[in-house]
Symmetry: C2
Subunit: 575 residues, 2 copies
């Protein structure tokens, strides 16, 4: 099983998301040198294919191991991490002020897809570090930034997010970890955190934990949460980070997938309290975490894209070699390649177009983040910011759902061999299964979309998004499937209206099918926009997506509009 | 994680499939004593819950192991198998002539669901044995029956199906295993078979292999396949079965799931040839295999039902305990049970109704088999036979698809805990993944449905089935969701017409969405029929199924009717 970054498709999607003229002087990315985007992606692809991907299988088979408080990453991973760090890959997105390359979010998004296509369990470590970097850049004191930020940016040290506790998962208001003020201006943390990705490992010299905890006098609920920085090693008398802090990994979870990524139970304050410093203000921890989470949500969406791409490549390669049976068209003697069977074609094409639609949505989200930061016109910057907020739950929810769907279709294309671990198709399915769960379950994404994002800017963000979809349909008037796509957008419009008028229960009941509907309409229009290039393959795939996938939109709209009463009534039988 | 056979739901579905008056004198099952069905299920439930289910997790964790040609089943499995055999459970379905209880297919179907809900990896052994029993009953010589059948029926010995070879999976025309005639009237087999479930194990004293192989002068393709019986132990001079035959297990597959079930590579004829006897006629092996396969296909559908039921129970139990967040309806202080959140309700209800729809379809299939065998009127018996043939691919394809969907939804309801192996939700997802693959992939089921079954009896079987669906809709005129259900049936009717007029490529292209459409329309009408009982829970669930699941039917019909051109065009880009 191999993975190659699909540079043609990626660059195409990247340029489409950037918009016309974006890389020209005065354009959104006019500051980037000519061809920098393409060459960065090509280098990233080379590194991922050569250094990260070959370690993916050993990561699955051997996994991270726990031994007397230490965590040993799979064979070869330490060396790969050194190459990652030394190659400067960790510093792509961060601000140049702290040693970062300051690459646009869009370019970083494409790289994130590549790392995760090659080796998702490995890529998860820098992915979470990137969220931490953003939180520190935005909220940490100058002193904390000075000491920690450059080292986390370079990858010399790694960083983690510590939110979850046994009783507090989706509901962070239930967090119990305590923080006490210490006379030296620092704090002491006591509590248990679970599901901490790379909470302990042997890849880097120090681990910077960002920890959500509660001060003694804090209000209840999420308004009483504060964010702290607690390093694994504290500075000793000589200023070198050699003193073990009072925090430790108590064990690793035995997981369905991403075996190479250590998922740690972390104990803070066994011996009096872990030394920690406040990030941002007291009781404003959740806002700081949201800085990390939004970035991480898009990144998790891109994990889904990378994994879906790899599942597609893997299954398609098999379907092009494996010979079984004869399809209807040719009743000759010799068995055909299974890719020639219409039913296998359907599976492989579905994998391809779902991947492309998810990629397009994620890249649009990333480009909107760039536009919000780079656009000089404040109105347009504000609109771009709203657009990024609107699209983020769709990017996360849809891309991770389709990662599971494509991984499962991939197993199906492999047939019996798909159920055997040696082919690797099953691993992708196991790995993918975490994506709709972490960084906010996809149910949480859907509720965020329906409960908050639809009303963003007085509903303006949604109106502009739908108007943009219609404009694509207009431009594609002669396109064979434009009628189906128009119906999909109209279905989204009707469902949106219904949700905006609905009471809370009905809106929540329709949230998940609505997110899917949104993604189908947006995906269909983005693929159709790409088809306007006239490239016969893009035309064919856009048409397939419309006729065979987005055609579900009207049914989904009916579920959103009419499904809630029977759901809420039947739900009563479950209680 | 526990499993309880849902006896109320099962008996309800069983009585509905049997039809009014079936258990009265002169009725379809009038020969069964009063209450025999209920008491048999209750006993089966007790046995499965107490003897089989507790061994499911150890089966997953430890799995079957291979050591020097032998296979060691997981701890406790030998004892469980002894209890299974001694309790007479293996003999339920077989003919009394060979020691079976001759139980109707419908009652046996319900038991099959129970065994597989409790421990699918264990239940797979007798499941395949049952297919072998049917093939031997129908095709074996009296001599072979005398020697082997009673022992396989009682469970003293087990039986296997040997079809697949590395190059011959879905396409059995590619089978290469050779059979040579021997002067003693027996045959000698040489070849390699893969994916042989329970091909070797330590549960029983002998293993009777049914092997598909090719005689030297046989025609090419499937018309040159013959079926043979090759036991692990041959009779020695004293008539006792102590002589090792020339066949062996060369190793086990390392699989995604059903770890307790040994999946063997079998080598025949290392030392000259495995001794075997012909079952049925030379070159008529495929027909004999089809006897096994149809029965096995329904049984695999029932594995899906059992697994889906267990996934639903498991997730629902968690959702009723786990407290996170507050839903819209109640913004009070304390966290709610997650089952109260509309989005979790949607997942749990979807799991419930998909399970019930699949159960209803499988039980209807089983009842049709009984009717074909027991009905005195030859026309009605013939129609029932056609109905069983029509419904079998739907029962297998849909039930195994929804087993995967429910298992994945179950993981999602567990959230982060779902990704951790200790909760067991992930195991169900891993186990379920084989179901759409083995006993004919679900693609093969869909092609069978579209390519052969739609035209059965000149299309009469399909017409009668759709007419029956409409009759339910008529009877449920006042039912809240009857409009949606009528649309689903109409969509099925339109899609069927389109397929009957379509060329082969188009029909094959639409096969998979058509199977789903068929199942949604049939499932919606069967649930609605159950709701006519007036039981509020059944009414609510039937309505939920209509409004939130079967509502996809018109979109699926459009994919079937209009999706093929773009599929076939885009498929060209894959080649």
């Amino acid at each position: 099983m191999t993975y190659f970054a699909p540079l043609d498709d990626m660059v195409f999607a990247l340029l489409q998301a950037a918009g016309d003229g974006a890389f020209e002087e005065g354009g959104l990315y006019g500051d980037l040198g000519d061809g920098v985007a393409e060459s960065t992606l090509a280098e990233a692809a080379k590194f991922a294919e050569q250094a990260l991907h070959p370690l993916d299988r050993v990561g699955d088979r051997i996994g991270a191991r726990f031994s007397e408080g230490a965590v040993i990453c799979p064979p070869g991973w330490r060396e790969a991490y050194s190459r990652w760090r030394d190659g400067g890959w960790n510093a792509l997105a961060a601000s140049p002020e702290f040693g970062g390359l300051g690459l646009p979010a869009l370019l970083n998004a494409a790289c994130t897809e590549i790392w995760n296509g090659a080796n998702m369990a490995f890529a998860l470590c820098p992915l979470l570090g990137q969220g931490a970097i953003e939180a520190l850049e935005a909220h940490a004191s100058e002193e904390l930034k000075r000491v920690y930020l450059a080292r986390v940016v370079s990858g010399e040290w790694t960083a983690t997010m510590n939110l979850t506790e046994p009783q507090a998962g989706s509901d962070l208001s239930l967090v119990r970890t305590r923080a006490e003020r210490s006379p030296d201006g620092a704090y002491r943390l006591k509590g248990q955190k679970i599901f901490i990705t790379y909470g302990e490992h042997d890849l880097a010299g120090n681990i910077v934990h960002l920890v959500l905890a509660r001060l003694p006098d804090a209000p209840e609920g999420t308004r009483g949460l504060s964010l702290f920085l607690a390093p694994k090693f504290l500075p000793g008398g000589d200023g070198r980070f050699t003193l073990r802090n009072d925090l430790r990994c108590a064990g690793l979870e035995h997981k369905l997938g991403i075996h190479g990524s250590p998922t740690c139970t972390m104990i803070y304050g066994d011996s009096g309290g872990a030394t920690a410093w406040l990030v941002g203000e007291e009781n404003k921890g959740l806002a700081c975490m949201f800085t990390m989470m939004n970035s991480a949500r898009l990144a998790v969406g891109l994990q889904g894209v990378g994994l879906a791409e790899r599942a597609t490549q893997t299954a398609l390669a098999y379907a092009r070699e494996r010979r079984q049976g004869r399809s209807g068209a040719d009743q000759g003697r010799s068995a055909e390649r299974i890719v020639e069977h219409p039913d296998v074609m359907r599976m492989a094409l579905t994998m391809q177009v779902l991947t492309q639609a998810a990629r397009a949505i994620c890249y649009e989200t990333a480009a909107s983040i760039d536009r919000a930061r780079r656009e000089r016109d404040p109105v347009r910057a504000g609109e771009a910011d709203e657009r990024a907020a609107l699209l983020t739950p769709v990017a996360k929810g849809f891309s991770t759902d389709i990662a599971n769907e494509t991984a499962s279709l991939g197993v199906q294309i492999f047939g019996g061999m798909g159920f055997i671990e040696e082919t690797g198709a099953a691993q992708l399915m196991r790995d993918a299964r975490i994506l709709p769960i972490y960084e906010g379950t996809n149910g949480i994404q859907a509720i965020d979309l329906v409960g908050r994002k639809l009303r963003l800017g007085g509903g303006g963000a949604l109106r502009r998004e739908i108007a943009d979809m219609y404009s694509v349909v207009e431009a594609a008037g002669g396109f064979a499937a434009s009628g189906v796509v128009r119906e999909a957008v109209a279905a989204l419009e009707a469902a949106s209206r219904s949700l905006l008028e609905a009471d809370t229960s009905k809106a929540l009941a329709g949230a998940t099918p609505y997110l899917r509907l949104f993604a189908l309409a947006r995906g269909a229009t983005l693929l159709m926009k790409g088809a306007l290039s006239g490239d016969p393959r893009r035309v064919a795939l856009a048409r397939f997506f419309a006729d065979n996938v987005a055609v579900a939109a009207p049914s989904l709209a009916r579920v959103v509009v009419d499904g809630a009463p029977s759901l809420l009534e039947a739900g009563g039988t479950l209680l």
